[in-house]
Symmetry: C2
Subunit: 471 residues, 2 copies
């Protein structure tokens, strides 16, 4: 307790002084992130104040994001994200390129399909067919779950009618799915497990709900199960957010065994798997890929799927399959989030699927992306060599690199150096609860790039890494 | 303290027994909603337990929605909404009519423009023109604020270029605006003021953020200012959610004086006005209507506007104007909520506005709705007479009625009686923080009804009210 020496000033309420002191200690790393703070009784005794004063001080720390409570266990320190500044700069950079204020030659940050592949003419015909067929109906919003025709098509086309149309909820994209699930099932201080690293947009949403976030390392075949079980044994977990194949950012894919084991754990420890079925259409190898949802026998999976990323980003469509337990909650959350999703777009996508155009388009994309993917691997091996390590995802649009530990650079500096040379990369810091842990990693997405751009960009990164002094 | 007599059972942790006991007392109304719970020290002494046990018990009550804390003041009881069951039934009824499982003759619950007024053919031409003009671009999402062309048109067409294009954020409808504002500016336990009654969809969103909600009575010319100032004097308020004209549900419109006064108070007490500019297009009298935003000199208004309600519900479009202080926060919240809004729809609306079709359409709607509105008033006066009281809104699509106090019926029973006769109304209970307060009120929206339906429906309600015994 020798850390806690506070000289009180008469003019300031004691609980404010105490919280200020502890904040400073956390910022200086004299109290570590996740360190247990003294018990209320103990600290009250040490500082010779009332217990209620300590309760108020801890409450204030909590409100300011410097502490969190675990029921029946006490209060823990929480380090504020020191890289908020960088995150802002990164997102402003992306905003600028999208606004075209910034001339960038090679953008490895893109997360959606290249516009060269958009089936514009065909989709236009489909839209017109819908408008002629449905008239004013195409602009109404009547069905709170989404257009029934589309829900039927999803059930039959993607799930062989094994999922009920009534369990499907149409979304305005996958990000909305994560937001809605969070509102429906996560309360303040609930425990959530995520993959480490994971998608930053999901981390943000869980933080909004004030969830306690646990991270579990991801290996080439899915998360580290022993770490995961350790957490499950000690904590009551509400849900586990997972991308089952070509995980963002790592590109990792769960083995069938791990999926089955995790489903078993979900039943045993009573938690739900929030499955973000990310880019499962882009498969370049011959392996069989199965979602958690398709393997789920106990209604333990909340399944989220985007149509936007792979198809037409601008149509903003996706869907969710809810377990019985949360179905109504999730539906109501959708209504209170944005009432409903564009009816015209739902009808158009439905017709597009039913004309078998979806299948043709995905086959075409697979071929086109397989070609880019192979080219990426060639360029990486040719130019980056031993300066980085990575594993080949076998699908998707991302490669995740660990920078050689002997090189004295962190991924944020690498980002700035690349940006100076008109190349944009995504530094690993964006994929972790505590940004520092991503210092040695970066992600390259080849989705929106042509081959010459890929080669040019990787050459630039290679040259930058070459000039880095060794430790 | 005589309320607090608990016999402890050895097998159950004491904090759980205490929280259970208090929960029961709140449910039974032995502890009132908003009543201050005993101080931690006092209750610990009374029950002869450790203070920390009481802290845990209060914490548990809070987590379960039965209590809330005010910093430096203590813990307060919170009554769980006893009408959750009714709300569920109401929303299930609406889901059923939308799913067509339920045959309803007259639906007074509709909140959007009647589909007979949708400009389908014209909009189809506009869509095609956009697709021919923009090609793949129409399906990309590049601009995080929304399509620049549309933001320019909004600035010039609706704001005479007095609002910067950079301050406008395109939304997927107004509901999303409320959700995004909440995520950006409201933290757990922050104080929010709403009109009483107010839009239920906003209440839900504020509850999600665990805000403390204060309600202020709405009069014919806006909220009761003395009530409002009382609250401002005693509490640090984060924001005030207001519908400036034809308020939902009451139809009330703020006087210019009240608007100016509230803007002054916002500056003085440092809060923000979240203005939901609801249905400001439908004006039937000759009065001048001005939004808070247009009167705001101190950047105190967060302005939210829907295009969906009045125009084409299925296009899901709206926009928001953010004050400088929260601009970046709000933009990032939008991205983490659904990445972006349908690009094609934004482009089509932009072209629609620029071809001056918007203005023509709104003029046409005004005429068509003025006619329905006058007819509504005639029917109300003819059939409902003194069984209800109400005031004439002068615009919009809603009438809000107070049931004659001598009639022994509450609005939920009225809802069920009407539903039996194939008429749907919206009971007042949905518009209050504590549903009971809406027992004497109901809302009728004439938006989606034709004249014969309006007359038929009001006759049915009249007959039901006639049969109600007097108190």
């Amino acid at each position: 307790m020798e850390k806690y020496e506070i000289e009180f000033n008469q003019d300031i309420p004691k609980y404010i002084e105490i919280s200020k002191y502890i904040k400073k200690m956390i910022d200086k790393n004299n109290i570590f992130d996740g360190e247990k703070l003294p018990s209320i009784r103990k600290l009250a005794k040490t500082l010779m104040v009332n217990e209620v004063t300590i309760v108020s001080a801890y409450k204030k720390l909590e409100a300011e994001g410097y502490a969190y409570q675990k029921m029946g266990s006490g209060t823990y320190a929480k380090r504020r994200d020191t890289n908020i500044k960088f995150k802002k700069e990164y997102s402003n950079t992306l905003k600028k390129i999208s606004g075209k204020d910034l001339k960038i030659y090679v953008d490895f940050t893109g997360e959606i399909t290249s516009s060269e592949f958009f089936p514009v003419t065909v989709f236009k015909d489909v839209l017109n067919e819908v408008l002629d067929r449905d008239g004013a109906e195409a602009f109404a919003y009547k069905e709170s779950l989404g257009y029934e025709g589309l829900r039927n098509s999803i059930s039959s086309f993607f799930w062989d009618n094994k999922v009920s149309t009534e369990d499907i909820l149409i979304l305005s994209g996958a990000q909305q799915g994560i937001d809605i699930v969070s509102k429906s099932i996560i309360n303040v201080h609930d425990n959530v497990v995520v993959e480490k690293p994971t998608y930053g947009g999901a981390l943000t949403v869980f933080k909004w709900r004030r969830a306690n976030i646990f991270e579990v390392d991801i290996l080439e075949d899915g998360i580290d199960l022993s770490q995961f079980e350790q957490i499950l044994k000690k904590n009551r977990i509400k849900c586990f957010y997972a991308m089952s194949y070509f995980q963002n950012p790592t590109g990792a894919t769960y083995s069938l065994e791990k999926k089955l084991k995790i489903l078993e754990l979900a039943e045993c420890y009573d938690f739900y798997i929030v499955e973000d079925d990310y880019l499962s259409e882009l498969i370049y190898d011959q392996k069989q890929y199965k979602s958690f949802k398709s393997l789920d026998k106990n209604d333990r999976v909340i399944y989220i799927k985007s149509f936007s990323k792979i198809f037409l980003p601008g149509i903003r469509l996706g869907y969710m399959i809810s377990p019985e337990k949360y179905k109504e909650h999730i539906q109501n959350s959708k209504i209170n989030t944005d009432i409903s999703t564009s009816s015209l777009m739902q009808r158009a996508l439905d017709l597009y699927i039913n004309k078998d155009l979806w299948k043709q388009h995905i086959n075409y994309l697979n071929m086109a992306y397989k070609d880019k993917y192979d080219f990426m691997i060639n360029c990486i091996d040719k130019y980056l060599g031993k300066k980085v390590s990575y594993f080949t995802p076998g699908g998707g649009i991302n490669f995740y690199f660990k920078i050689d530990e002997n090189l004295k650079i962190n991924s944020m500096d690498l980002f700035y150096s690349c940006k100076n040379k008109k190349v944009l990369i995504t530094p690993g810091v964006l994929f972790y609860k505590n940004a520092e842990q991503g210092n040695n990693y970066f992600r390259l997405s080849f989705s929106e790039l042509k081959k010459p751009e890929i080669e040019e960009g990787i050459k630039v990164i290679s040259k930058i890494l070459e000039k880095i002094p060794k430790r």
